[in-house]
């Protein structure tokens, strides 16, 4: 009997792609991973459509309307949903804008920024509308596992993924749990 591979999707919402970089830091272990899983929608495959998946891994919090739609879609299509990294878990660095009114943030960047010519706040309809605040994803959908770190190290990701795929309870060693 050929075991079918587990389907894994990943995405970066309001994050810096650092968590995905950490995923790539798995280096040769990615080959072992590729034996066991098949990547669906992910920046690694560049697939844009999300299929039915076993595992969804989310980097980043929610900062705009598109982030929310993507998150809801991941929750609907993935059996297990994982919050990876500080931004997905607590909003992280982007949530530092919650200290200010959105209007002030936009004006600071787009109308008061240094060296701007013909300054204006972008309002192209293709640009997703910003939320007034950045929020972690567990405030919108149910999350099954949290993987802290900014980013979580490749070793942390590896421990987590191997335990998860083996159906074991997740038990990260002390040195692999960090909020930074």
């Amino acid at each position: 009997m050929i075991e079918s591979k587990l389907k894994v999707a990943t995405c970066s919402l309001c994050g810096c792609f650092g968590c995905h970089m950490s995923l790539l830091d798995l280096d040769e272990r990615l080959f072992d991973l590729a034996e066991k899983v098949e990547f669906d929608r992910s920046p690694l495959t560049d697939l844009k459509e999300l299929g039915e998946c076993d595992i969804g891994i989310i980097e980043g919090g929610i900062a705009n309307v598109e982030n929310v739609h993507t998150l809801l879609e991941f929750r609907a299509r993935c059996k297990i949903l994982i919050a990876m990294g500080a931004c997905a878990i607590s909003g992280g660095i982007p949530a530092m804008r919650n200290h200010y009114e959105l209007k002030d943030c936009l004006e600071e960047s787009y109308t008061r920024g240094i060296g701007l010519v013909d300054a204006q706040i972008p309002n192209d309809p293709e640009i997703p509308l910003l939320l007034d605040q950045v929020h972690p994803i567990h405030e919108v959908v149910k999350i099954d596992y949290f993987l802290p770190g900014c980013p979580p190290s490749a070793d942390t990701i590896w421990t987590f993924v191997t335990q998860l795929l083996a159906g074991q309870p997740i038990a990260l060693p002390y040195t692999q749990i960090h909020y930074d």
């Binding site: 878990i89 607590s90 660095i93 919650n98 002390y174 930074d180």
Partner: protein, 246 residues
């Protein structure tokens, strides 16, 4: 000669002297009970509740509960750990704890205790309060976003430094740390980095200026070993990565 009175803590026999709290006796016996507002150099405050233990079946703060002969105390049990984790999670969402952007990260007692109790995420809905940063003092900085109201700086400034620089104002959810000057600015006080109040904060609220991020990630106080092994940042000398003046 009468025998020293004893209680048991997670099955271990702990001797104590009359008047000692459960926390003090455990500390003397080398047993770690997680805590934040407790510092053995100060009168117990009993406010953070992180040190709660089950004493003869009832939850009590170990830093304020007197030890008594024959008590059965439980600390490292799932029920207690879960409550502690919940308390830590509430502390995290109540303030703004962006560890990746905090100079204290890696040597922060709040963070280290959160690791110790197995907190992977803050679970609750974030408050994202808007609290100010006070950079008015030439040598020190206060980021009120990280204050957990343990009042250690308040106690240190009043009891040790004799300066009374800090106070907590307001009640309940409105309680917040203030600086005791008409302007509310630290720069208007005689606060100094050599004050005891500058060495006791268990979080990254009170920081010194002109230095930062000196110890590389991986070598910071709590990077390799947990707080029950390393000890509190306020109890360790600066030369050992702590805050206590050598």
């Amino acid at each position: 000669m009468s025998e020293e009175p004893r209680f048991t803590l997670d099955g271990r026999t702990v001797p104590f002297q009359d008047g000692q709290t459960i926390m003090a006796a455990a500390l003397a016996a080398g047993i770690y009970i997680p805590h934040l507002c407790f510092n053995p150099e100060f009168t117990p405050h009993g406010s953070c509740r992180v040190c709660l233990v089950k004493v003869n079946g009832r939850m009590q703060a170990s830093c304020t509960t007197p030890a008594a002969a024959g008590q059965v105390v439980q600390s490292e049990i799932d029920e207690v750990r879960e409550i502690r984790r919940g308390l830590l999670q509430m502390l995290f969402v109540e303030g703004n704890h962006v560890c990746p952007a905090c100079e204290k990260s890696g040597a922060c007692q709040l963070q280290a205790v959160a690791y110790y109790v197995g907190m992977l995420a803050p679970h609750y809905t974030h408050f994202y309060p808007r609290r100010p940063v006070d950079a008015s003092h030439p040598d020190a900085l206060i980021d009120f976003n990280r204050c957990i109201l343990c009042e250690l700086c308040v106690r240190a400034s009043r009891e040790v430094d004799g300066k009374n620089v800090f106070a907590v104002q307001g009640r309940g959810i409105k309680a917040h740390l203030v600086v005791n000057t008409p302007s509310g600015k630290l720069g208007a006080t005689d606060f100094s980095l050599s004050d005891k109040a500058a060495q006791v904060c268990p979080t990254g609220t009170i920081l010194s200026k002109h230095s930062g991020y000196e110890i590389p990630i991986g070598q910071r106080l709590y990077d390799r070993k947990p707080i029950n092994v390393v000890g509190d940042v306020a109890a360790l000398a600066v030369s050992k990565g702590g805050r206590r003046h050598d």
